[in-house]
């Protein structure tokens, strides 16, 4: 039986503790869509909104949530704004440097992505069922938005007691 790759959360948390911290006030923009910062931000405490094309697609409060990982892995600008809803603190890393040299961080990020894909897949099963059953547009629309929140935002994280974060569970 394979042993799980990640669960060494304690090791990852110790690594995070060595990173610089940055604090944002309520209303501050943490990441801007279309910008390329090369930074990886890991929420330590606070609450943020992920906003895409003016629409809030997710709210994230769980410590350990990662922001900026898609941009660095896809080598493209950030696709959403991340805005602080209250005073919020993040661990900050140079994304490329951290992912290149730190297997723990890399696996953490990969697992967060896998978790989001898995959760989106479950949502998609629900969506398919609703479309086939001819459910009303409002119901289908809400499910699509939930999947969008999982895929496009973030929030899956492995350190919070709520793991696995899964709105479709």
């Amino acid at each position: 039986m394979p042993t799980p790759l990640i669960p060494d959360k304690a090791v990852f948390q110790r690594k995070l503790a060595t990173l610089p911290l940055v604090t944002y006030r309520a209303g501050d923009t943490v990441l801007s869509a279309a910008s390329t910062t090369g930074r990886l931000l890991i929420l330590k405490e606070g609450a943020v909104a992920v906003v895409m094309e003016g629409v809030e697609i997710a709210r994230v409060t769980e410590p350990g949530a990662v922001f900026g990982e898609l941009s660095v892995l896809l080598d493209q600008p950030h696709t959403a704004d991340v805005r602080a809803l209250e005073a919020s603190q993040f661990h900050v890393a140079d994304a490329a440097a951290m992912l290149r040299v730190d297997p723990t961080a890399l696996l953490y990020v990969a697992t967060v992505l896998a978790q989001r894909l898995d959760s989106a897949n479950r949502g998609l099963l629900e969506l398919k069922r609703q479309v086939q059953a001819g459910e009303p547009r409002s119901v289908i629309g809400r499910t699509v938005e939930k999947i969008e929140g999982v895929l496009g935002a973030t929030g899956a994280n492995l350190m919070y007691a709520g793991y696995p974060y899964d709105p479709f569970a």
Partner: protein, 160 residues
Amino acid sequence: MPSLIPDFATLETRLAGLPVVKHRAGEVVLTAGSKTGGLLFLRSGTVEVVKDGVQIASVNAPGSVFGEQAALLDQPHTADVRTLEQSEFYVADATAILASDPTVALYIAAILARRLDAANRWLVAVKHQVQAGEPPSVIGKAVEKVEELLSYGGRDPTGW
């Protein structure tokens, strides 16, 4: 900034020492519900990904990887992978290779990121269709596309 992400050629240099398995056409390479702990990298050939008896993708790009989500999430495989023609795979122990080889782990993280991004783009199309009041048959097709993008093995993350 040079890309962080290895392409398949770079990956292949890391896989060179791994065993290669050959499957004939029609063989099941991974079974939904099983837990193999293995990672498979397509070297040559074509496979189909089958979920609940329905083909959701057919994959022939060398470097396509199978089994990575099961390994990362410590879950059973969620789809069958079956060869459509004679196919060759590099076979790795998922835990060992992901924990010890950052190049392979980066390659896989990039594939997952690419899959999320692609599925998300199609989901926007689904959203617009729902808002426009398109019939269920049209929405259903777009939903299937999202399903394909979310689930299939994933190819060279630098290649599309």
